[in-house]
Symmetry: D2
Subunit: 281 residues, 4 copies
C-alpha cells in the first residue's frame, strides 16, 4: 500500500507510469491532497452531492503566498527545492495550483479546457548547491480561465508574490440555489449562503465547523474548539488505513492525482503556446 506526496508526478507522463504501476500491482493507494479532509471542505462536498447548490455556474480558487518576493532568496537545496525547476518540475502550478485543481475536480467534476498565463518575476537566483547565479526555471505565478464539463466557468490563480498572504488557499462555488466559500487561513469555518432562507434575514452564514455532526469532528473536541492543519493529514491517514484494511484505495487515488496532472500539464502548455488547451482525460 502506497501513500504519495502530491503532485503525483512532475508531469502527467511521470504520473501515468505510477498509476500503471500501482494499478498493475493492485495495491491500495492515495495521494496527499490533504485539503479534501478539511472538515469544512468535506462538508461542501456533501452539500454539492446532495444537490443543495443546484446547477453550478461558477467556481473560483486562489492560493496566495508571499514568501519568495526577495531576490536574495537562493534556489535549490533543502528548504528551497521548490524554486529549482529540475527538482520541483514547475513552480506554483505544481505546488499550489495542483491543490486547488484537485479540490475543484472533486467538488465540481472534470475541467475540459484552459487558457493560462504564467510569469517568473525574478529570473535569476543563486543556486544553493552550485553557489552560482542561475536562471530560474519555475513559474512564480500561474493563472488560468477554464470551463468545466458541467457548463460552469472558473478562474484559478496561484502565486508566491501576493504580499500579505501567507498560505491563503480560497475556494468558492456558486450554484443556482446556494453558494459555499472556504479559506485556509480560517480552515475551521465554512461560509454558506442559501437562497431559500427567508429574504429579510438572508445572508452568508459563518459556520464554525466544530460540532460532533460535522465531518470528522466527532473524533475531536467539543463545539467551539478548532482543530489545526495537521488534522487534515490525520483524517486522510485514518481513511487510508480504513480503506486499506479492506484492500481498497482511498480518495484521491493515484488515478485522481493523474487527473490533476493532466490539468497542470494543460495549464503549462497553454501558458507557453498562448492557446486554449483541452484537458486529457
Amino acid at each position: 500500500m502506497v501513500l504519495c506526496e502530491k503532485p503525483l508526478g512532475r508531469n502527467a507522463a511521470e504520473a501515468k507510469t505510477m498509476v500503471d504501476a500501482v494499478e498493475k500491482a493492485g495495491v491500495p493507494n492515495s495521494v496527499w491532497y490533504n485539503y479534501r479532509r478539511v472538515p469544512a471542505v468535506t462538508l461542501i462536498k456533501q452539500l454539492v452531492d446532495e444537490g443543495r447548490l443546484g446547477r453550478i455556474f461558477h467556481y473560483r480558487a486562489q492560493f496566495l503566498q508571499d514568501w519568495t518576493i526577495s531576490k536574495d532568496l537562493p534556489q535549490g537545496g533543502e528548504g528551497l527545492w521548490r524554486l529549482d525547476v529540475n527538482v520541483a518540475g514547475s513552480g506554483v502550478t505544481g505546488d499550489l495550483l495542483a491543490h486547488c485543481i484537485d479540490t475543484a475536480l472533486w467538488l465540481n467534476g472534470p475541467i475540459t479546457e484552459v487558457s493560462a498565463m504564467t510569469e517568473t518575476f525574478i529570473t535569476e537566483r543563486k543556486h544553493t548547491l552550485t553557489g552560482k547565479t542561475e536562471p530560474v526555471g519555475i513559474d512564480d505565478a500561474s493563472a488560468f480561465l477554464c470551463r468545466f464539463q458541467n457548463g460552469s466557468l472558473a478562474l484559478f490563480e496561484a502565486t508566491r508574490y501576493a504580499r500579505g498572504h501567507k498560505a491563503l488557499y480560497t475556494l468558492e462555488i456558486n450554484g443556482e440555489h446556494a453558494s459555499a466559500r472556504w479559506d485556509l487561513h480560517d480552515l475551521h469555518r465554512l461560509q454558506w449562503f442559501d437562497h431559500k432562507d427567508e429574504g429579510q434575514v438572508r445572508g452568508w452564514r459563518s459556520v464554525h465547523i466544530t460540532d460532533g455532526d460535522h465531518p470528522y469532528m466527532k473524533h475531536w473536541w467539543v463545539p467551539g474548539l478548532q482543530i489545526g492543519y495537521e488534522h487534515t493529514f490525520t483524517h486522510q491517514f485514518a481513511d487510508f488505513l480504513q480503506a486499506a484494511s479492506q484492500g481498497k484505495s482511498c480518495s484521491p487515488t493515484f488515478r485522481d492525482g493523474l487527473a490533476t496532472d493532466y490539468v497542470t500539464d494543460a495549464v503549462l502548455a497553454s501558458a507557453t503556446n498562448r492557446q486554449w488547451e483541452s484537458v486529457r482525460t
Copy 2:
C-alpha cells in the same frame, strides 16, 4: 411640533419639565435617538416583536471611542462642550450610554435596577473659555450591570478611552431561539443567528441590509449599495413629519426620552453611592 436633541434633559428632573410642557401643549414631539432608524436596528425590533427570539436571556451594549485620551485636549467651548460638565450634564453616560439605553428600552423593555461604576481618567484640563486648568467634572467611562423586567441580564459600557475605536456602538440580544448583533462601524449589516437552521450549516448570518424589503430601504439604492450615517436622521425626520401630519408624536417621544434619563440618573447615582439602584418609571 418639537424635535429635541438627546438626551432630553441633563437629568430626569429637567426632562420631566419638558415632557410635562409638550404633553400639556399637546404638540407632536420626538427625541433624536437616531439609532432606532438604522434599518438593521429597526429590523431587530421587528424580529423581536414577531417573537423570533423567544424568551430573552441577555442583552449587551457598548459605545467605545478614543478621542479624548490626550491630556492636552482642553475642555469647554464649541467643539469640546462635551467635556464641560456644566454644559453636558455628564460625560459618556449622557452622551453615549444614553443611546445604548434608548435602543435597549425599545428592543427589550424596561430596566428595573442597575449597579454602576464611572471613572474620570484625566482629572484636570485647561478650560477653553477661562484659559485656566480646571477640574474635569464629567465621567470619562461608565459601565453598569442591570436586570430587565423580562428577566434578562445585561451589561452596558461607554468610554472615550478605548484606543482603536472611533464610534463603536455595538449591541447584542440573545434569546432562546435566536440572537441578533449590530454595530455602528458597519451600520448596514445585521448579524443574525437562528437556532432553527439545520445544524450542519447553522451559523451567524451577515445580512447586508440593502434590499427593498428591509426597513426604509425601498426608498434608497438597489441591493448591495449601502447607506450612510445621516440616513438615520432622514428616516426619523420622515417618520416625524408623517406622524405630525396626523397630529401624533413619533417614537421616541419626549416621554421615551425621560425613561432613558431615569436610567442614566440611576447609573450616576449607583456609581456614586456604590449600591444597586432601582430605576424610576
Copy 3:
C-alpha cells in the same frame, strides 16, 4: 460641459466619436465611473502614487451579482434594458467589468493584452416590449486574464450568476512592499497590509475610512460614521464643478472612458475568437 453615464459608448467606435466631439468642442467632460471617488479607493490611488507598494505584481477584481438567475425574468423595458443587447451593447462586460477596468487603469496603468471567456447561461427570455421569447444576446458572465504594461498580471471577473452576492465589486493590488484591498459591500473600509510593519504584529489592517484626513471625508461626519453609495457621485460632481469652473475636464474624462471601451472591446473579441487580444491605445 458634459457628464456622461458609463460606459461611454456601447463599443469603442461609438465612444471615439464622442471623444472627438467633446475635444473638438473643448468642453469640460467626465464619465460617471463613480468608484474612483469612494474615499477608500481614492486613498489606494494616493498610496500607489506615493510608491508605497513598490513594484506591482498582481491585480485582481471581480464584480459579482445574482439578480438575473431566474429564467422567468424578462429582458428589455425600463428596469431590464441591461438584458437587451441592442440597448446595452453587451452584458456584464460593459455594465460591471467596465467599472473594474476603469479603476484598474487608474490605479495600475494600461492593460496590454487579454484572454477572455464569456457565457450566456440563460439563452432565451421573454422580451418585455415584444411579449415574445427571444434569444438573449448579452453575456451573463465575463472573465479575463491580462497583463499590464508595468509587468503585473491580473484576473477580472464579472457575473450576474454568483448566488449570494448583491453587488460585490472587489479589488486587490499586490506590490513588493504593500498590498491593498477594497470591496463595495463595505465601501467605507480599506484593507491595507504593509510589510514594513514589525513582524510579530504584522497583519492586514482594516481601516475605517471616516477620518477628516481621509479623501473627501473632511466634508462629512466625525470619525466612525460612514457614508453611503451616493456620496461617490456627490464627490465626482463636486470635482467636476470645481474643474469646470476653471474650464477643465474631470477624471475620468471621455478619453479615459474610451480607454476602458478599448479593453472591453478586446475582451469581447477575445471571448469570440479564443485568442489573446492586444488592447488598442
Copy 4:
C-alpha cells in the same frame, strides 16, 4: 510534581489547602488554565510587558456558550456534572469566568473589588443519578464590574444562555497607546491596534499567529497553517516539564490558581449580598 485541572478548588478555602500542601511539599506545580498558552494570548502578554500599550484604561472579557438552554437537559452524571452544584462548586463562575479571570490577572494585574450578579434561568432539572427533578444550584450566567489595582475598569461576563455562541471566550485590553483583542473561535488570530501607526492607514490589524517568531510557533507548521485547541495543552505541558526538570513550578502555579479563586469567591459573594466586594490577596 502536580498538574491540576482548573479551578484549583471549588472555592478559595479548598484551594488554599492545596496551595499549602504543594508549597510545603516543595513540588513543581501548575494549573490547567491553558489559555495562557494560546500563542496569540502569550503574545499579548509580551506586548503588555514591553509597555506597548502604555497606561491601561479598560479590560473586558466574556465567555459565551449556549449548550444548556434546553430545560430537558438533565443535571449530574458523566457529561453533565457541570450542572450539579455539589460536584462543580458553582456554574459558569468557576467553569468559564475562572478562565477569563486567570488570563486577566496575568495580563493586567490584581483585581481589587467587584460588583456582580448571577442568575439561574432554569431552576429545576432532572438529576441523572437520582432520576428525580431537583433544584438547580449552579449559576447559569454570571457577570461583574471590577477595578484593577492599576486603575483600569473592567467588565466580565459568562453564560451558557447566549444563543449562537459555542465557546466564545473573548478578551480585549485598551491602553493609552495600543489595544489588543483575541477570541477563542479564531484562536490563531490576534487583533492589534497601534495608535503610532500613520493616521491615514491606521486600523485594527488581524495578525495570523502562525509565524516562526510567534510564541511557540517555531515548533509547528509553516506560516499560514493554524494550530488547534489541544496545542495549548501541549505548550503548557512542555513548559511544565521544562520547569519541573529544574525543580520549578510553571505558570500558572497553584498560588496563581488560588488568586483566581479569591476573585470567583468575591463574585459569588457580591452576587448574593448585592454589595461591592473586595478581593482577598
